[in-house]
């Protein structure tokens, strides 16, 4: 800062000394990228997600391989190599979902949101940028994790000639679908976090929706539950990971589209209230 001069300055515009550009979506995107990468908690949670996605598939594959000779004929017949190595998605979705919630709820809990909205007072670009940055980061890391899970798991299973090639029908879709599924779970987390603005509440809602609602619906009489179960977010999205069509499940892309629909609804509701509420 220059020292104040003694000559009186006429009130009005001062000379601009710092180059400043208008706020645009790409700049907000860049800002959100800086925010995401500058938190230790982001890196740790992403690492945990990676280990869960890549590691659990490998672990189950290794256990299956070691127990193969003791398995019953029916267990052997129903064995699905692809779903075994991609099983990590069920655990990774918790870490990804929590991170999705935190991306926005931590700004509300710390007060950072006020700095954010002061810089971007139209607000919605912030929500879209957060969703965009986070889904791309999740998609990239989880695609790598899913490929690691697939190839390492298949390598282990090959000892019993149980491996399935990536080129087999539906397998590529399942492997990349696991990453897509996780990215959409993350978006659902962002939506719930922005809607509820409260970390604990949003995490509880997300976990409830993904993990508690399906078994609860299962308690209903099957005449009712079979009409609901396939349409629940996690079940719908997981259809994308099925290599073989399973009874009572939506087709892969229809299921995934429905799950995207849930995330869109959460984000749209968040956008609606974000513009109106006081920060």
């Amino acid at each position: 800062m220059s020292t104040p001069t003694m000559t009186p300055v006429a009130p009005g515009r001062t000379e601009r000394r710092v180059a400043v550009q208008p706020v645009t979506p790409p700049r907000v995107l860049r800002s959100e990228w800086i925010k995401l990468r500058s938190l230790r908690s982001t890196k740790i949670t992403l690492l945990v997600s990676f280990l869960l996605m890549a590691g659990i598939g490998l672990l189950t594959a290794a256990i299956t391989a070691s127990q193969w000779s003791h398995l019953s004929a029916s267990s052997r017949a129903s064995f699905d190599a692809v779903s075994t190595v991609l099983q990590g998605h069920q655990f990774a979705q918790l870490a990804i979902g929590v991170l999705g919630v935190l991306v926005i709820s931590s700004e509300y809990s710390s007060g950072m949101i006020r700095s954010t909205f002061a810089a971007v007072p139209t607000r919605l670009p912030v929500l879209w940028a957060k969703a965009g940055v986070f889904s791309v980061v999740t998609l990239v890391t989880m695609t790598i994790a899913s490929l690691v899970a697939f190839f390492s798991g298949m390598a282990v299973l090959s000892s019993h000639h149980l491996q399935v090639a990536l080129s087999a029908p539906g397998v590529t879709r399942a492997v990349f679908g696991a990453a897509l599924y996780l990215a959409v779970v993350g978006l659902l987390g962002v939506g719930l976090g922005a809607l509820l603005r409260n970390t604990a509440g949003a995490i509880a809602s997300l976990v409830g929706l993904l993990l508690l609602v399906p078994p609860l619906v299962g308690l209903l009489p099957s005449t009712i539950s079979t009409h609901i179960t396939p349409y629940l977010p996690s079940n719908a999205g997981e259809a994308l990971l099925n290599v073989h069509h399973q009874a009572g499940s939506l087709s892969p892309w229809a299921g995934f589209a429905l799950m995207c629909g849930y995330a869109v609804v959460a984000l749209a509701a968040a956008a609606f209230v974000m513009r109106r509420r006081d920060a």
Binding site: M1, P8, R13, Q21, K35, R114, D278
Partner: protein, 315 residues
């Protein structure tokens, strides 16, 4: 320039701001004073678009804050409540804000130096002391070299050196022709920094005046008179607009008559005076007196404006 017009903000049943109208001029340091809970922070949040007014409006440099294409270049704001993620370093916090306006990294480094956070810039902000947090808030406010600077209680938690630094910074910004709006609940601080004062209480405007005018208007300055014939003098100077009190034998505190007139009256009547001293109320006294009862001490001009705005808003 900040223009607040008939601003009303209610949170449910509670009215935080009740019909505020004022203008903050460039080239001056304007103090925004009021007891805690009087609506200062709410007003500031509304000016920068964080809170939506229930009625009325606030504009900055002619437009609502949110309509500026590069809002940080128009208004730099430091809010009272912390607005920093504790897990992020000061540098990255500023870098993320800078990115929204395409501001260069060199400017981020510049404001870090300006507020004296160089050594801790890479540390997580959660480890910062209150004073360091304030400095980071000020750095964020100055980042885009804004035309208007709004600081909510900037000296809270600062050491004396820091307080002096803020004072000089604000004066410097005003000298450059910027609009500087600083809230405080400490009159003594404002007395040293501000040129102009906007005083509010219970969400309503109490005074909008220069510091000098404010003191005069607030307490009606008094004159201390010591005389062996105090009782006689008291009779002579009494009148409808004059108040005379005495807390000590032979000493009068007179309001409503200036010292020249008291001196003349005493001379005419041959009354000896040992002491005749105009007393100026300190800003602190003036402030306390004004804010004791927001309604009773409302300045008439203010009242009219509020009635006018209340009428508009009831439609």
């Amino acid at each position: 320039m900040i223009e607040v017009n008939g601003l009303i903000k209610r949170y449910g049943e509670k009215t935080a701001v009740n019909g505020l109208t004022f203008t903050v001029q460039p080239g001056l340091v304007t103090g925004f004073l009021g007891p805690n809970g009087s609506g200062k922070s709410t007003t500031i949040r509304t000016i920068v678009g964080l809170d939506r007014p229930t009625a009325g409006s606030a504009t900055v440099n002619g437009k609502p804050y949110a309509q500026h294409k590069a809002p940080l270049a128009e208004v730099g704001v430091m809010l009272e409540a912390r607005a920093i993620h504790p897990g992020r370093s000061a540098f990255n916090h500023l870098l993320a804000l800078a990115a929204t306006h395409g501001i260069a990294v060199s400017r981020v480094e510049e404001v870090i130096d300006l507020v004296g956070l160089r050594e801790v810039a890479r540390k997580r902000a959660g480890q910062f002391s209150l004073g360091m947090g304030q400095r980071l808030g000020i750095a964020a406010a100055l980042l885009a070299d804004p035309q208007t600077v709004i600081l909510d209680e900037p000296v809270n938690g600062l050491d004396p050196e820091g307080v002096r630094w803020v004072r000089q910074l604000l004066r410097g910004l005003a000298t450059e022709g910027r609009t500087v709006f600083v809230s405080s609940h400490l009159m003594s601080e404002m007395a040293l920094t501000a040129d102009h004062l906007i005083v509010i209480g219970r969400g309503e405007l109490i005074a909008d005046a220069s510091v000098a005018e404010f003191v005069q208007r607030a307490s009606g300055n008094s004159v201390r008179v010591r005389s062996p014939q105090a009782a006689a003098l008291r009779e002579l100077i009494g009148g409808p607009d004059v108040s005379v009190t005495s807390e000590e034998a032979g000493v009068l505190t007179v309001k409503g008559v200036d010292s020249d007139r008291i001196g003349r009256i005493a001379a005419e009547h041959g009354i000896a005076l040992f002491e005749l001293a105009p007393q100026q109320a300190s800003l602190e006294d003036a402030f306390m007196e004004l804010t004791q009862d927001a309604v009773e001490y409302k300045a008439p001009t203010t009242n009219d404006r509020q009635l006018a705005s209340a009428g508009r808003n009831s439609i």
